[in-house]
Symmetry: C2
Subunit: 333 residues, 2 copies
Amino acid sequence: MVARGLLTFKTNPSIASTGVTAGPLEKKSPFVSLFDKMYDEEQSGAGTNEQGHAKMMEDACMIALSKVDSVPEDADFLLIGDLVNQMTPSNFCAATVGIPYMGMFSACATSVSTLITAALLTDSGFSKIAIAGAGSQHNAVERQFRYPIEYGSQKPETSQWTVTAVGVAAVTPNKKGMPSIVCATIGSVVDLGMTDPLNMGAAMAPAAADTLQRHLDGHGTKITDYDCIMTGDLGKTGFELYKTLASNNGIDVTENFRDAGEEFYGEDPSFFAGASGAGCSSTVYFSEIYAKMLQGEYKRVLLIATGALLSPLSFQQGDTIPCIAHAVELTMK
Amino acid sequence: MVARGLLTFKTNPSIASTGVTAGPLEKKSPFVSLFDKMYDEEQSGAGTNEQGHAKMMEDACMIALSKVDSVPEDADFLLIGDLVNQMTPSNFCAATVGIPYMGMFSACATSVSTLITAALLTDSGFSKIAIAGAGSQHNAVERQFRYPIEYGSQKPETSQWTVTAVGVAAVTPNKKGMPSIVCATIGSVVDLGMTDPLNMGAAMAPAAADTLQRHLDGHGTKITDYDCIMTGDLGKTGFELYKTLASNNGIDVTENFRDAGEEFYGEDPSFFAGASGAGCSSTVYFSEIYAKMLQGEYKRVLLIATGALLSPLSFQQGDTIPCIAHAVELTMK
């Protein structure tokens, strides 16, 4: 039976390795010991923010490949995305690594839409190694969406801080003892009329709650089946709202609920409501969650990456913020 | 055997219907009689160019669905993209139609990357109806990439005119007597150092030639197997260069080579080297080519959509123009 937006993989493709790179401020993250490479400055030594962003992506791809003793020529597909206009950093990364490339854009939910597509290509037998992931760079993104960085414009407590980080996964046919991709749910856009880009967590929370419900109903699972249900980058404000919405839907919200954006910078108030950016969920999923699965602490997890599909222009034109969330389920067997 | 970036579908999903919408200037296209809906003004009656662009996409989706007696609730996946920053029109279209949505970005090659992904989901048994396609709107795109429209800035002969048009396909499991999707090739980025955004055809030509060669080699086919090999939007300048490059590769360039951008506005010199934009290849493929297949004139075609993965920022920063081309092969059986 076909159910809208649902996928159940036949062969459970594995995440054979991951690659995580991050900027200097991200050294403050409680997950930093799990990141593969840190840069001492925001532009990763490149000439522009965007080129630095591309460099971070290239490095993450190379790291993930090297962990499976591979080079770009061994990889069949590259599925990545970012938040910069026309996905400039992803495009230049693709040019450098030279892997057949499909760009994907679901804002900060791109970490999961790319992982699902990589699993789909692998499940169909078309891919031995597919690199999937997403990233963001604070300066490149914030100057598009908010104000010139140099303004130092005051932000409200609900605002989130775009991370400088990239997370990618090397997806392969099923490998015993590695985290594997079981099933997934593609999100529908949810737009409840929110218009404040400095409170994107609240805008995205209903999309996360919607996708959680659709995943549970569609795949016939329940909350207690999972050791962890981690949303993308709702941040402190959005995460609370999401838990309330899930609770209102009759879901028993437990301590197994986590949010990458809420946790990324710990309790440091400099980052307001927490982290956001396409590099937020991808890096936490591909470091913290991946490590906990390898260690056997998490046997089954549900990852729900959230994305605010606004643009600076749509905001300026007074439009609402359409939001989306994609879910993917991983197991250790 | 897995070969990099190549897909061969097991079930040959069909394009059960198409939906094509276009703006007022596009009435000059020789293909106009095959378009489903034309608007008398650029914004399709909406308040902004971007909202008009979204409206055109929604209408195209509804038209394609209506031709298979379906409504959005019947569709399993929506795979679309456009050229506006953060794909604003696609996101708002997805919000309106409410179909589970993955945004995809390969610039003007998005028409084919979405079609391939729809075929993949269908081939895997996850989709009964998937809507795939891409679009562009002249004013929304040109004001991003070039100059304010009102300037009336003089363009060189090599420049191309972004079409106001959307083309989508409703992809279903194989239906006898309908154009069906046999195999595909995902492009690798080709960047030969071109930097002129007013000559994108020349920048994209090498990517098209590369993907053509990879498709022929990878799938073991030859030029004479196809009734038509249509590139995306190389335009008059890029199309000539592409044919030269293919010829240099030992390929016998025949009259079966066509280019959507070269033909879209006929011989009208107002459009310089011809059409471009994500709506160019998608509308020509899903009207002219689709019709010729249904009529039996074309039994086997190869569609190679091309995309220039630049952004206004990467151009201003002096970067080159990375280009890509994705290929998909259709047959009538």
